[in-house]
């Protein structure tokens, strides 16, 4: 279970002006729950994901994993406690192969067969990828799927995916939905948080949180929140907005 209690994150810009990126966020993701955080760009969603992973440190509030306060714990400590994090923009490495990355993620001497299983789960033909370097020769969509495979290989208690759909083509996107749908079926007692704008990912959520200007504006079961999203101002097509001017 993941609990965020009164999480805030402020930054000071180059002119010395304080800006609040995340404001007093409370969020609980129970065991076996699939929660999607959505909302307009610049609303603080990715920052919230980084705060959970320990990449950023909150200015106020606390983060609990399975009841243990991890606010002061490092990225590594949180990862070892079972937190998995998929980056919005996956990182490239010269010389590190897909197999190496999966082995690091698994934290053990992963057999070739098991490593290939993780790639197959994300829709990649394993034999074509397992020995390739995680470098610029891979496309954005391929990297994205490998990124998700590294999180699967960790078997995390709590998994955070930051905009898994960002930067991938339509064909890859259809596969991605399948991956998340099967993850949704298989999560058992772990928790999944996905930052997403995609209707089809929102459609498989247990709960939806709408984040805007650093705060969680709406939070509740999908059947209650989803219908409200289409009535949000941000969801209107730009031509509709023009008509109302």
């Amino acid at each position: 279970m993941l609990e965020l209690r009164g999480i805030s994150f402020d930054v000071v810009d180059k002119d010395g002006v304080k800006k609040s990126i995340v404001k007093n966020v409370d969020l609980t993701v129970g065991d076996g729950r699939f929660v999607v955080v959505t909302g307009p760009n610049g609303g603080g969603k990715s920052t919230l994901a980084k705060l959970i992973a320990g990449i950023e440190t909150p200015t106020a509030g606390s983060i609990l994993m399975d009841g243990v306060d991890v606010t002061a714990k490092s990225i590594t400590e949180r990862a070892r406690m079972g937190l998995g994090f998929a980056f919005q923009q996956p990182v490239r490495f010269k010389g590190i192969r897909v197999l190496d990355l999966l082995r690091i993620a698994a934290g053990r001497e992963l057999s070739l067969t098991h490593a290939c299983d993780y790639l197959s789960q994300v829709g990649l033909c394993a034999k074509n990828y397992i020995k390739r370097e995680v470098n610029a020769s891979l496309s954005g969509g391929e990297l994205k799927r490998i990124e998700i495979a590294t999180v699967l290989a960790r078997k995390p208690r709590i998994a955070i995916f930051d905009e898994p759909e960002a930067g991938i083509d339509l064909w890859s996107f259809n596969n991605l939905i399948t991956i998340f749908a099967s993850m949704r079926e298989a999560i058992k007692d772990s928790s999944i948080v996905v930052i997403s704008h995609q209707e089809r990912i929102l459609n498989i959520a247990d709960e939806i949180a709408v984040m805007k200007q650093g705060s969680i504006e709406k939070l509740g079961p999908r059947r209650e929140i989803f219908p409200l999203l289409t009535s949000l101002d941000e969801a209107q097509a730009s031509c509709e907005k023009v008509k109302t001017l």
């Binding site: 590594t76 996956p90 990182v91 010389g95």
Partner: protein
């Protein structure tokens, strides 16, 4: 190998990946003394008469054979200059493993300067691996100054893998190559310096023949207070393709200088160079930390992968 002491055996393993006497032709040298040599029907190894070193003659058409000529120095203060000439016959296809390991636990400097000259015949293929390694806790320095000269005949291929990962206090590496018509040279250099070490690596490659090509790629890491200079020059004197690349990671107070240069003497010479120096990207460290590694472990993984 049995009569060799443990340190010497370990050094042979480090630089030539051998734990037993290798198959094929070999020449093992320790502290200036020959400690094992075998020639084969196709590959003869003979001692030079005018100066220290050996001649390795590979008959034309020799296929799939190997030559190991590793050198170790374990006596503190031992200094040597060795001239090894390789004559690779037309159409031969061979693997050559060289390399030098120095163990110095004394107060005097130990030094091995190896001058390797390759005469690569028409249509011949050579894969050449050279590893340099140093160890020992003495105050004496471990010094290696290799010079490699390559003359490549028509349509020959040479792949060179040069590795110096640890323990060499100072090195001046010079590689000179002249390529004939249709010849192809591929160089992969891996270099790591640490402590107070310094290393220079100079390449002068002349693409003299029509259709010749060279690809010289160096990856290096400079840690602690070490210094490196990579100076690669490709000269195109015919219709040819040349590419050189230096990709470096700098850490702590390390310093790296990259000086790639190109000279085109022919309108159809296509030459390119790339050089990049930078510290390990913070996002790479963070990614590996989210996979459960500490920052130090993440650094090691990134460097090991980079230098693989």
């Amino acid at each position: 190998m049995n009569q060799l002491d443990a340190i010497t055996k370990q050094l042979f393993t480090k630089v030539a990946d051998i734990t037993e006497l290798p198959e094929g032709a070999y020449n093992l040298r320790s502290n200036g003394q020959l400690c094992g040599r075998v020639s084969t029907e196709n590959i003869s190894i003979t001692t030079k008469v005018d100066r220290s070193g050996i001649d390795i003659a590979i008959k034309p058409g020799t296929k799939g054979e190997t030559v190991h000529i590793p050198v170790v120095v374990t006596a503190s203060g031992h200094k040597e200059t060795v001239y090894n000439d390789f004559y690779v016959g037309d159409g031969a296809d061979v693997d050559i493993v060289a390399g030098c390991g120095i163990h110095n636990c004394g107060g005097q400097d130990s030094e091995h300067d190896g001058i390797h000259r390759f005469h690569v015949g028409k249509n011949a293929k050579v894969r050449y691996a050279e590893k340099h390694y140093g160890e020992g806790d003495g105050m004496g320095k471990r010094i290696l100054n290799p010079q490699t000269e390559v003359v490549m005949d028509e349509d020959s291929l040479m792949e060179m893998e040069m590795t110096q990962i640890k323990g060499v206090d100072s090195t001046e590496r010079v590689t000179l190559a002249k390529l004939g018509k249709g010849a192809k040279l591929l160089v992969r250099e891996r270099l790591m310096t640490h402590g107070e070490q310094w290393a220079t690596s100079v390449y002068k490659v002349e693409l003299a023949g029509e259709g010749s090509s060279a690809d010289v790629v160096s990856r290096s890491v400079a840690r602690d207070n070490s210094y490196q200079k990579f100076d690669a020059c490709i000269e195109g004197s015919a219709p040819c393709h040349g590419h050189t690349e230096c990709d470096s990671i700098i850490m702590e107070h390390g310093r790296i200088e990259a000086v790639p240069s190109l000279t085109a003497n022919h309108v159809d010479a296509e030459l390119m160079h790339e050089a990049a120096i930078g510290k390990i990207a913070g996002e790479q460290l963070i990614k590996l930390m989210t996979l459960g590694l500490t920052e130090h472990e993440a650094e090691e993984q990134i460097i090991n992968g980079f230098l693989k």
